[in-house]
Assembly symmetry: C2
Homo-oligomer: 492 residues x 2
């Protein structure tokens, strides 16, 4: 670990100049190859203050074609970012296929700061480690290469460098009181860094510890590691073209763990249901204010058969919500641009800020419904999605203190036919029915199986599914709103 | 104006219910029609505190399909937004083709707040009015419908409503001290609002003043105005399909106002130039720190012939810049998604934050170069672009305090051929040359004319063009960096 590193290592000028140029040329070529191979790369540079993070980034980017990389300097989160789950801003910054993203400081920065400042290390360590390892594993599973570097210097060296910066009028303003304060806590921070590095050093996102006393030695070590890793991946991709990746054995879930009925057990009149709905809408208005006041976010997911009444249900449920505190995210097929990223990114982007309600009209479950049935996504990928989705939902709930309500709107096959025909024959509704709806209907049984598996594998304690019996539209609206209200009460 | 409105107007319940439903149905149909016609719509709702802005937004969005609108509640700008030009965050929120964007408060909010709080009304009025009118006119020219509403109530009515909200435990927390403070300055604010409304009431973005004492009256007036305006536009679009829009008469600029030479007057050796460059790079390092410290942003635009050496020039110019304080924006053809917006939006998005340097490798000038020559954009549109670009650059400089440096990298036709052939025959460079480059070369004369006109019409006092004689690459690098350094000195 850090304290075992030999910080006296150096590189002489002659070797440095020759080797650096060679490395730069290699990296430049590798960048183009990886772009063609559509491999995304994340390079994280972490380390002590004044350990040379900026300088390392500097040397790397000068070998790169600016058309193919993005550099993020990670600072304190903005107000908007603070009102979101911890990893939200990093999800928005992941590289698309074929691009290199460099992080000068990263998701580790806040965690390290939290731990050293609050002295509550052990309490939240496990949670943070888990979040980060999951995040990195999901990206790696999607094909992203992740390289992480920690630049290490001694406390004495840090002091020397900070004093040097203070003497230079151009850099003096960068050495703030809080930087000196962190310096004085160097000895407390060291075991924390060690722990965290150990816990997050994984096969899919390994750490490289860098002896950073000698600038030149550090640069060459970073370069050598990047080149070796990228070459290995690029070669593997080349070979992999022929042989198919081996899919993990799939554990089939028990069937029908979640029962689905399309018709409500107890029949009420339309008038009774509308009265109840009006009362619930008023109750929701009040709850919405309270969620807003207490800064609790809520996600509501609508999935269901075509013509099950998602749109009408959403309109009724939101009738008395304050439009400044909720929004509907209509989910369609991903754009070309969106397809270049991990599939969860386009949903996480719309996750609600503290106090907001985000209603998803269709959602990330498309991965295990339409993408599965229509064979848009290989089986290995949608099989992996059940776990990824559970992790994402768990991460949202834990990290935001909010809730997730998920609806499956169930109608019978006969009821769907009736509604399709109604739409087709009503000039005011005909725009709602397309050839695609009819094609989907032909695959009813395949969708049925996919829905069963989805409900069985993603109905978790923190984000359970609620089946809404939607043959009766008014019943469906009442049940949906009642479920949201119950969830809000539990959160308040 | 506001003080002339009859605030006693009311609407009775029966009329309200019937008319509202009729309006909602109409708006719902209009939304679909406008989507098909690809017309973007902006609806701004402004007004006094407690005048019913939220309630008006509420009633409008409930008639809309959530798949086709976005609602923004405009609050104080975030830290990131504060570090950008005033209109930046609104440019990012404009609707794409066929979409409706509602603003609950808007770009007027900050201006009004500035004016009433600082009591410096007349000083900056002209500048702000000009900025806003230009912004709205540019969007309108691009086909956006802009509707602006101001909800008006008396001081007494405002007091009554604020007190009512204070009595309700759910809303009490919303009535802050600063809201009461604004209430006490109602009489000061009134003439300010009047002035501002008058100055920004334009044919392309007119204000509708709304008597908002009676909630129902206000809602119906807002609805009626929206429907009337959208119907008119939709009908015009229908008719307009046949007849071509009349293009304004074009004033041809004098030719060759900016002289172009591809070869430097004074010939220096490569060694001399490289020495000079090294010195300038060190000087730039220092200036970059100072720009960063004083939070001055800088834009550098690179345009030039294919193979003129833009990439190599940028690499040398940025050699010693801190990568955390500059970035290169490589500009390619717009994506499908980007094409749905006003063409300037995708560039404004990358404008630098305070203290950063943004280097554009190609830029918004593509509008009057490749889009003109390749006939991608109709003449009326690219002709309008010269003025739009000048306005955008001026707005950036005034509103950020930063600077813009623009380079045209000139090479001779012979030199280009030589470089094309070199690239084609060098396996390390062959990726740099494409069929498109050869096709562009065939249109040299057309590009030549477009460049002349661009330089003549967009070389302004605040953002002049610098022609870089690039037959000699090392000379070109020295001249570019020297020009940036001179600009930085002027800004500091």
């Amino acid at each position: 670990m850090l304290d075992k590193l030999d910080l006296t290592k150096t590189t002489d000028d002659a070797k440095y100049d020759a080797t650096l140029q060679e490395y730069k040329d290699k990296l430049s070529i590798l960048q183009r190859t990886l772009r063609e191979q559509k491999i995304p790369v994340i390079i994280v540079i972490e380390g002590w203050n004044a350990s040379g993070i900026t300088m390392a980034v500097h040397e790397i980017v000068h070998a790169l074609d600016p058309r193919g990389y993005t550099l993020y300097k990670i600072d304190k989160p903005t107000e908007e970012e603070r009102a979101r789950p911890f990893l939200w801003r990093f999800w928005l910054r992941i590289p698309p296929k074929g691009r290199i993203t460099l992080f000068a400081r990263s998701w580790y920065t806040r965690v390290i700061a939290e731990q050293t400042q609050k002295h509550s290390w052990e309490k939240s360590l496990k949670r943070r480690v888990n979040e980060i390892n999951t995040f990195e594993r999901q990206l790696a599973d999607d094909g992203t290469v992740i390289l992480k570097f920690f630049l290490h210097i001694t406390k004495e060296e840090q002091k020397r460098r900070l004093e040097e910066r203070e003497r230079n009028p151009l850099t003096a303003c960068l050495v703030t009181a809080s930087i000196w304060n962190l310096h004085h806590h160097y000895d407390d921070a060291l075991p924390v860094f060690n722990d965290f590095i150990k816990e997050t050093d994984t096969p899919y996102a390994p750490w490289t510890l860098v002896e950073a006393t000698d600038r030149k030695y550090a640069i060459l070590k970073v370069y050598a590691t990047i080149i070796k890793t990228l070459e290995k991946r690029s070669d593997a991709a080349e070979e992999g073209k022929a042989k198919k990746q081996k899919t993990k054995e799939i554990v089939k879930p028990k069937k029908n763990l979640v029962k689905r009925h399309s018709h409500p057990e107890k029949v009420l009149t339309k008038d009774e249901l509308q009265d109840t709905l009006s009362q619930l809408q008023v109750e929701m208005l009040e709850l919405h204010y309270l969620l807003f006041k207490r800064k609790i976010p809520l996600i509501v997911v609508y999935e269901g058969w075509d013509a099950a009444g998602k749109g009408g249900n959403i309109t009724r449920v939101t009738r008395f919500m304050n439009p400044l505190g909720y929004y509907v995210v209509p989910v369609a097929a991903p754009t070309v641009h969106e397809r270049d990223y991990h599939y969860l990114r386009r949903f996480i982007k719309y996750f609600p800020t503290a106090g907001d309600i985000a209603i998803f009209d269709r959602s990330w479950y498309g991965r295990v419904l339409v993408e599965r049935v229509e064979k848009i996504t290989p089986e290995a990928d949608w099989q992996r999605a059940y776990q990824e989705i559970n992790e994402m939902e768990e991460e949202f709930v834990y990290s935001s203190g909010g809730g997730i309500v998920k609806f499956w709107l169930e109608i019978s096959k006969e009821e769907q036919l009736k509604r399709f025909n109604e739409r087709a024959s009503d000039p005011k509704k005909v725009y709602k029915i397309t050839d695609e709806d009819w094609r989907n209907r032909e695959k009813w049984d395949q969708y049925d199986e996919a829905v069963d598996e989805m409900l069985a594998r993603t109905s978790t304690d923190i984000a359970p599914w609620t089946v809404i019996e939607s043959d009766d539209k008014w019943f469906a609206r009442v049940k949906a709103l009642r479920t949201i209200i119950a969830a809000a009460h539990r959160l308040l």
